[in-house]
């Protein structure tokens, strides 16, 4: 039988057994996320406008990640709105940086794959590079948004009389831990996705100059930092946002 299919079924069973209904829902959010990505690829390959598609799918993907994993409506709504706002800020940053990076397309390491494929697909790969960077950061932003929002809602529930200032203070404290843990997830995730790339470089005797200016290396480094910036921005934003809505009532 197909390896990937068996592994996926194993994951579904484990998630259901260990986390029950929420686990099953989380599993489907993962599947939907993959389907959405394939959908994006199809739409772009049909020649539709890349920025428009990206802007439409960012909220869809965020919603899939956030709403499937949380049972609490306040958490879901606040996490979604604040991460959407952070994404919009981040998109402008990514747009500017990718303009200067001029790092579109694929590297030489995929030359074997490209054999037999068109080298002139007629789609602007510099725009696709921006889409890739944005999508790569979405997971980290959504996760941090849910963590901080859920933590604060929990505090508010256990101490309903808490003031706005105290809530913001708690947010800053929890935020510190979240920055640390998210950084680990992002950093090692990156190691896990660039390892083969670097191992591939080595036998070719690339010079430092070539490696440090290589578009794939630069793109991976930038994606790591975009994600970190996203996590850093979401913490004060989600905290203030939530403190405002929770104490308003």
């Amino acid at each position: 039988m197909n390896t990937l299919l068996v592994l996926t079924i194993t994951l579904a069973i484990l998630m259901t057994v260990i986390s029950g209904e929420t686990g099953l829902r989380s599993f489907f959010s993962i599947i939907i996320n993959v389907v959405l990505l394939i959908f994006v690829a199809m739409l772009i390959s049909w020649g539709l406008n890349i920025p428009v598609i990206t802007l439409i799918f960012v909220p869809l993907k965020l919603a899939t990640i956030i709403f499937a994993g949380t049972e609490n409506k306040t958490v879901g709504k606040n996490a979604f709105l604040s991460s959407l706002l952070v994404c919009l800020v981040l998109i402008s940053l990514i747009f500017v940086c990718q303009y200067f990076a001029q790092a579109a397309g694929m590297g030489l390491e995929v030359n074997d794959v490209l054999m037999g494929q068109s080298q002139q697909p007629g789609i602007d790969y510099s725009l696709i590079a921006i889409t890739v960077a944005i999508f790569s950061t979405l997971g980290a932003i959504a996760e941090a948004a849910v963590s901080i929002t859920a933590g604060l809602v929990e505090i508010k529930n256990s101490k309903p009389t808490i003031t706005k200032e105290e809530l913001i203070q708690s947010g800053t404290n929890i935020g510190k831990d979240i920055i640390g843990t998210s950084m680990n997830t992002i950093l090692f995730g990156l190691f896990g996705s660039v390892l083969s790339l670097i191992l591939w470089f080595y036998p070719l005797n690339y010079s430092w100059g070539e490696i440090l200016n290589d578009k794939l290396v630069i793109n991976e480094l930038l994606i790591m930092m975009y994600s970190l910036i996203g996590v850093l921005l979401i913490i004060p934003l989600a905290t203030h946002f939530l403190a405002h809505t929770l104490t308003k009532k």
């Binding site: 197909n2 390896t3 990937l4 068996v6 592994l7 996926t8 194993t10 994951l11 260990i18 986390s19 929420t22 989380s26 996320n33 993959v34 394939i38 690829a41 390959s45 499937a68 940086c97 990076a101 001029q102 397309g105 694929m106 390491e109 074997d112 794959v113 080298q119 002139q120 007629g122 789609i123 602007d124 790969y125 510099s126 890739v132 979405l138 980290a140 959504a142 996760e143 859920a150 800053t172 510190k176 640390g180 843990t181 950084m183 680990n184 997830t185 995730g189 990156l190 996705s193 083969s196 191992l199 080595y202 430092w208 100059g209 200016n213 290589d214 930038l222 975009y226 850093l232 913490i235």
Partner: protein, 368 residues
């Protein structure tokens, strides 16, 4: 008091911003960083970009072949100050070709009186973005930034060290090396954050059990199903032992997520045991599961997006070339997806290992 701390942070962030900005500028303008390549700049006058011909490939994709003619002035090396003419062909889709702009700084080589432009000079951009990241971090995390920075630098250092070891042994021991890497990395990360104590050891144990039990499970599944449709030969895996490197990559990629999760669960259960010493086993198991429920979904999604978003350019290319959805999926997304699913299994199993480890070791201590 609070106001004072805030002001201090702003000052430090500003210092970081100015310092980083200076380093960014230095990197951008400096011409002697590299030994093998020379730096040149594209001159603004006589810059030409003209259409050679319009192309339609066998898949009916419409593209163009364009030719750029420009002059570069060498800024370093033996030929410093001289001007060379460069002709660059590119396709506007820029899949494998590069378009240059006026005033671009580029890496160039001179051979037999002809200049070859290698690539745009991109090294200053990560430094610029790093400056922004660190300044933000100082504002938000304050003193904590130092610890974060140290752990980040340490991680990179160990990562590169291990990689060189791996290369020295011709990637024969990949799985062993990166398995060992997991053990060392997690120990160091935990010691930096928590210090050496029983809770930290329990977290360490939970992390390792989570990673290695999922690894063994997935390895068995892969062997039993005969690795069908696992195309390691696609894209990034053109090395001697593709399966080994794939597994090593998975071992490394999952560590951060599992570490966070184990820390979260063990720390919270530890708090619970302290505040409520007579808590029952069942209550502890329930708390562990509840926490796991909230964390697992988003964590798996984080890794999923890191692993498969990077396959988007290839996926689009395959679809563009009418490769069919099934083929496209197998050739471009399957590897990243497999890596995500294996990571997912690790993340789910860590809920069990973290709850179990806390139950066994933390609870017993309180009884005695």
């Amino acid at each position: 008091m609070n106001f004072k701390i805030k002001n201090q942070r702003l000052i430090f962030a500003l210092i970081c911003l100015i310092l980083g900005g200076a380093i960014t500028c230095w990197t951008y303008f400096s011409t002697n960083i590299y030994h093998k390549e020379d730096i040149a700049v594209i001159m603004p006058d006589k810059f030409e970009d003209r259409l050679i011909h319009k192309d339609t490939d066998i898949y009916q994709n419409k593209d163009q072949t364009r030719q750029q003619t420009f002059y570069i002035k060498m800024l370093s090396g033996k030929h410093k100050g001289r001007v060379y003419k460069v002709i660059n062909h590119y396709y506007p889709s820029q899949l494998t070709t590069q378009k240059y702009r006026i005033h671009n700084r580029v890496l160039a080589k001179i051979s037999k009186n002809k200049a070859v432009v290698l690539s745009p000079k991109r090294d200053w951009i990560p430094i610029m973005v790093l400056t922004i990241t660190l300044s933000l971090m100082i504002i938000l995390a304050g003193k904590h930034t130092i610890a974060l920075l140290i752990s980040m630098i340490l991680s990179w250092a160990i990562f590169f060290g291990l990689m060189f070891w791996d290369l020295k042994t011709n990637s024969n021991l990949s799985i062993l090396i990166y398995g060992l890497a997991d053990i060392i990395f997690s120990f160091i990360c935990l010691i930096i954050v928590q210090g050496y104590n029983k809770k930290m050891l329990v977290t360490w144990l939970a992390t390792l059990i989570g990673i290695f039990s999922s690894f063994i499970l997935c390895y068995l599944i892969m062997q039993l199903t005969g690795n069908t449709q696992m195309r390691y030969d696609t894209s990034d895996f053109i090395t001697q032992d593709p399966q080994g490197i794939f597994l090593a990559q998975t071992l490394l990629g999952i560590l951060g997520a599992v570490l966070d999760e184990a820390t979260d669960i063990v720390s919270s259960l530890h708090e619970l045991i302290i505040h409520k010493p007579n808590i029952t086993k069942q209550e502890l198991i329930n708390s562990g599961r509840n926490m796991g429920k909230e964390i697992t979904g988003p964590l798996i999604n984080v890794l999923l997006l890191i692993f498969i978003a990077s396959a988007l350019p290839e996926t689009i290319l395959y679809l563009r070339d009418n490769a069919g959805l099934g083929n496209t999926f197998n050739y471009t997304l399957a590897i990243g997806l497999t890596q995500s699913v294996i990571s997912g299994i690790g993340i789910v199993l860590t809920v069990v290992s973290a709850t179990g480890a806390s139950l066994l070791f933390l609870k017993q201590k309180d009884r005695s």
